[in-house]
Assembly symmetry: C2
Homo-oligomer: 421 residues x 2
């Protein structure tokens, strides 16, 4: 089977000038890759006719599929449509179906169709209209000399819906693409190179049609297996058996599969076990609570937090003993143990966790440099503490300490066997 190649062409001054980050093209890359289509180039040009025409001609000569975003708005600096008309040497005409759709769109919002909006229903006569269910600019599908060219709006949620519902399925009908199966394995608490060391024998045993990618971010590493073949069932079976062989090597670091973040996995564990959580967070300043409460339904297991940022609040509001603070300091194991136990008792929750550290840049001492952080987990069975030595960067320290606390909750909870789906 020969490969099917694609180029992503993004049109818009705002990207060339750096006014926005182009996140569309990343999303499209992933969607195409999952469909067995290989992106071999990305190009961005500005709102300039000559540049757009050159880019269209080059892309058409290079790949099987050209996906264009941007430049479809109703104002005069949106040039994609006139350029496509020129490139394909056809005419611009009001498309009756598109006009009915854009009229209905405005009517549903109680607004009148203006002449400018009416022009959004004008399409090149040589294209097939692609319906935009949630916006006013339709997509356009062109075919010439074995190349497919599709133009979409640049508004991310319009583009994504159009791609998912209409364009990717149509491309899969039009081209013979290999079957691709992805499995993402989520790990936390181990750096990329240490993880690579641990699983090198497994990695070296991967068959040629299954590729592994390490996708590290702050505090966690995703492993992505991409299997290419013909039978979906066969690929799923192969990947599942590889994951089974990975677990003995790295199981303790694996917190889940797919896209769910650590705070959602923890939320699910707490909900399943009907346990409640409270947090005393000092150096993380609210970030742990923010991640926990970013999950819909978190009020089922999360009762609340105290952020005792100042020394006197640690004593007066949380109840840490003055002698503990005086003798050991706020960033110490005795203090963090008291914090976790106190918040659990005050908030009457099953679990209490706590953070205290020197996020930086100020506040360091010779014994406690910037990046020194203590974290603790407490439930009725046990209290677990951990000392972290992080970086010199405040924002990185807040994020890494937060990931470490979430992972401490995961590891300290009554054990559950995680199974992959």
């Amino acid at each position: 089977m020969s490969r099917v190649t694609a180029e992503l062409l993004t049109i818009g001054d705002e990207i060339l000038y750096g006014q926005i980050v182009d996140t569309n093209s990343q999303w499209m890359s992933v969607a195409l890759s999952e469909a067995g289509i290989q992106v071999i180039r990305k190009t961005t040009v500005g709102d300039v006719e000559s540049e757009i025409l050159k880019a269209l001609a080059e892309a058409e000569s290079r790949v099987d599929i050209v996906l264009i975003t941007g430049g479809l708005g109703p104002t005069s600096d949106d040039l994609t449509k006139p350029c496509l008309v020129k490139h394909f040497n056809c005419e611009l005409k009001i498309n009756d179906e598109a006009l009915a759709e854009v009229t209905a769109f405005f009517k549903s919002r109680g607004r009148e169709l203006t002449e400018i909006n009416r022009q959004q229903a004008a399409l090149p006569t040589c294209c097939e209209k692609i319906t935009n269910k949630i916006g006013t600019a339709p997509g356009m599908w062109f075919e010439r000399n074995e190349t497919v060219m599709v133009s979409m709006p640049g508004v991310p949620h319009e583009m994504k819906l159009m791609m998912k519902d209409l364009i990717v399925p149509k491309l899969k009908l039009r081209f013979i693409t290999p079957t691709i199966h992805h499995q993402v394995i989520r790990t936390v608490g181990i750096g990329e190179s240490f993880l690579a060391d641990k699983i090198s024998s497994w990695e070296n045993s991967l068959p040629p049609h299954i590729k592994l990618a390490y996708l590290p971010s702050l505090g966690d590493v995703k492993l992505r297996l991409t299997a290419i073949g013909e039978s979906r069932e066969e690929l799923i079976r192969e990947v599942d058996s590889l994951v089974d062989r990975l677990i003995p090597l790295a199981g303790e670091y694996i917190f889940g599969y797919g896209e769910d973040p650590l705070e959602m996995v923890i939320g699910n564990l707490l909900r399943e076990q009907k346990l409640t959580l409270s947090i005393a967070e000092s150096c993380t300043g609210g970030y742990v609570s923010h991640l926990i409460t970013s999950i819909p339904g978190s009020s089922e297991y999360f009762l609340g937090s105290l952020i005792p940022y100042a020394y006197e609040i640690k004593m007066r509001q949380l109840g840490v003993k003055p002698e503990t603070l005086e003798q050991y300091g706020a960033v110490s194991e005795p203090t963090i143990i008291e914090m976790a136990n106190l918040v659990r008792a005050k908030f009457s929750t099953d679990i209490g966790v706590a953070t205290s550290g020197i996020a930086g840049p100020g506040g360091a001492t010779p014994e406690k440099p910037v990046g020194t952080v203590w974290i603790a987990y407490s439930d009725k069975h046990h209290t677990v503490t951990k000392k972290l030595q992080l970086s010199t960067d405040r924002s990185i320290n807040i994020r890494l300490a937060t990931t470490a606390v979430l992972n401490l909750i995961r590891l300290s909870l009554p054990k559950e066997v995680l199974t992959h789906s």
Copy 2:
């Protein structure tokens, strides 16, 4: 003066496959635009020799400056250096100065130089080395037929330091670029289209050499003025006088100038006025505290927070009267007033603020749909409340409510005249 054009060429499979978002090229666009250099194209190709060679030749024929990132690592899939050697038809040789630098780099970290790392000091003989002060892969500067081509590592902080300290200054010496002066005006509390309406007379009066861009994000809008001319002093004078004329039209929405976020502006106001702050945040779940504490030195004015997520924590830990909660509910003006006053009293701070609302998706009632949020500010002089009706999206509601609270602090503090620098 003729314009100076640039193309950004990014090399790496991880970008084509969508494994990472290319944020480097946005940063580079801004840096070049500020230097008076116009980016007219961005291109990304994968780690494939033929694709890289084609892209190098095309870019060289198109622009004055080609800036290349990525593909400089020590492993075999990093092809940028061998491709540049081929493209410029020269040789790869160990550069003594680069070798001394990379050796010193490893020594300073207590590590031995391996053969693989030694190869990072091998450079094309036809290039000028650009020192990498914080990494092991040097940059490379090539010139041929009036075009400058520069290759840099893809690691963001290495690329940025190299660009700022060495490459942009060198490009400004090599090319005659116009003088560009940017001024960013930060607004909050007004949507893009309403702001545009308010300032349309001012916008229409801008001279042709001064352009305005609206850069909206969740809850705030940046206005960026870009002035192009010859004399920096003249441009600064013109832009300052435009900003002075903008203030009567939109002054109440302007919270600052440049890149400092709202939480930093508020931190500065609190520090200058020697005021302390505490927060009772319910529906925002810690995000207000997180933004406040993301600013270095925030412990000077921020003493702490209570996150009374559960109903009973609002009563037991914060002290909201049961009859208030029963009569009006947790999301109500009487409750939010008590919350702000109580946290201020408990934490003994000058200012107390509070949030309570239905972030969604659950928890709504017919009278209080998802997105209903109450916020309050309290100091010894007055208590100010505000009801917000936000969106149906949990994450957007948390962010918008947080921006609204920060803005409420700004507007309710003893007045200070903000001057632009």
